[in-house]
């Protein structure tokens, strides 16, 4: 991912806190850019690099909640949350998927850093929550076993 895209994403986070309403609202413009390189990255490390994660620490203040076994890999419920103050960005990554990055969220002020969604998993894998708070990166993970593949066929 090139520097300018990353900057846009960062900027959006900042703007999201401050003046998102009037600026973006009236023009109906999306905040975050879709970042092809992050989404196309084939490994967890590459995806993290593309997102802009340089150093990170594993944190118990970040959590990934799901069932330990998913009956169907095509639909796996995942909640990610952070209790770290000033959390303004969160992402879900599935380690073993062909492209690990699943979704990323800018969290404006006033929105809880806790999101539930559903992801596809090609097989049993660790699912990561990657969180940015006050400029620092934090990570948590959980292994989810998949009894039926959700990709391809």
């Amino acid at each position: 991912m090139n520097q300018s895209r990353r900057d846009i994403l960062r900027m959006t986070s900042i703007i999201g806190i401050g003046l998102a309403g009037s600026l973006f609202g009236s023009f109906n413009v999306f905040g975050a850019e879709w970042m092809p390189k992050s989404f196309e990255a084939k490994s967890l490390e590459d995806a993290l690099k593309e997102i802009g994660v340089d150093k990170y620490s594993i944190s118990t203040d970040v959590s990934v909640v799901s069932a330990e076994i998913a009956e169907n890999g095509a639909v796996v419920p995942v909640s990610i949350s952070s209790v770290i103050p000033k959390t303004d960005y969160m992402a879900i990554l599935v380690d073993k998927n062909p492209s690990p990055l699943s979704a990323a969220f800018n969290i404006p002020e006033g929105t809880e850093a806790s999101i539930t969604t559903r992801v596809k998993m090609g097989g049993t894998s660790k699912v990561y929550a990657v969180v940015k708070a006050d400029g620092k990166w934090f990570v948590a993970s959980k292994e989810i076993k998949v009894t039926l593949g959700g990709c391809g066929g």
Partner: protein, 268 residues
């Protein structure tokens, strides 16, 4: 490597006694998985589309389905599903919901048979109007008690034919519905099998169809569910909305009598 394998098997043997416990925790986790998905069933999107289709005037007659009589009078959707299949005087036949919908689409909306049964089972890019309509209509019976009648001789016949079909063993594998669904607490692989002769199981199962199938990403109806059972049973293919399946539905609906209807549900 060999040592490693031996070690693993040794561990397995030591812990083999605890396997039952491990099995339970797997079941618990699968239950948790389902619970987490219960909130936000995509079937609601089908219900919305179904309601739109029910009320939409379409060619050639520019008529909606709102005058369709599902058994409780023209246009009455609320509670109709828990009394289906039922005998309909206007056709002198027992019909299930899907057969009745086809009837209304032909006779009220003026569609040809081909148009009326077009895409009974949706797929990506080919959404099924029938699945959407069934989602809407069945959702309007949520919270109500299953109460099909077998009083009319033809209703009784449908029930009895369905019962015989339930026990009918044939085909390469000698399977009948009963092979998998007539004993308590059985599984195929990890999939639990309801005992459809046991009232509690029959109620729980019947009242949770139709359902959004996670594996298919579509809402599937009772006709689809049972046709797919027949496929796995190694039976040939029934025509869509067959009387055979309606009879089987009648048998199952009666076994589920009194169960609180709770669909469209969400299933694996």
């Amino acid at each position: 490597m060999k040592l490693f394998i031996t070690l693993i098997f040794t561990i397995f043997l030591i812990y083999s006694n605890t396997f039952a416990v491990a099995g339970n925790s797997s079941t618990d986790e699968i239950a948790k998985y389902r619970e987490l998905l219960a909130d936000g069933n995509p079937a609601e999107l089908w219900e919305m589309r179904g309601e739109e289709l029910w009320k939409k005037k379409i060619d050639p007659k520019s008529v909606s389905l709102e005058q369709c009589d599902l058994g409780k009078g023209p246009g009455i959707v609320k509670g109709a599903y828990v009394e289906l299949p039922r005998y309909f005087n206007d056709v002198n036949k027992v019909m299930d919901l899907e057969q009745r919908l086809i009837y209304c689409r032909k006779n009220i909306q003026g569609l040809s048979h081909e148009q009326a049964v077009k895409i009974p089972y949706g797929s990506v890019g080919n959404p099924s109007d029938i699945e959407a309509l069934v989602s809407y209509i069945t959702a309007e019976s949520k919270g109500m008690k299953m109460a099909v009648s077998t009083k009319h001789p033809l209703e009784k016949e449908a029930y009895e034919v369905g019962k015989r079909f339930f026990f009918y063993r044939a085909g390469s594998h000698d399977f009948s519905c009963a092979t998998c669904h007539s004993a308590d607490e059985k599984r195929i692989r990890l999939q639990e099998l309801p005992n459809l002769l046991n009232k509690a199981d029959a109620q729980k199962t019947y009242t949770t169809w139709p359902a959004y199938r996670l594996s298919q990403g579509e809402v599937r109806t009772m006709q689809h569910r049972l046709s797919d059972c027949l496929r796995q049973q190694r039976f040939p293919e029934p025509i869509y909305a067959s009387e055979t399946i309606t009879a089987l539905i009648m048998f199952l609906a009666k076994n589920a009598e009194g169960g609180i209807f709770d669909a469209p549900a969400l299933k694996r």
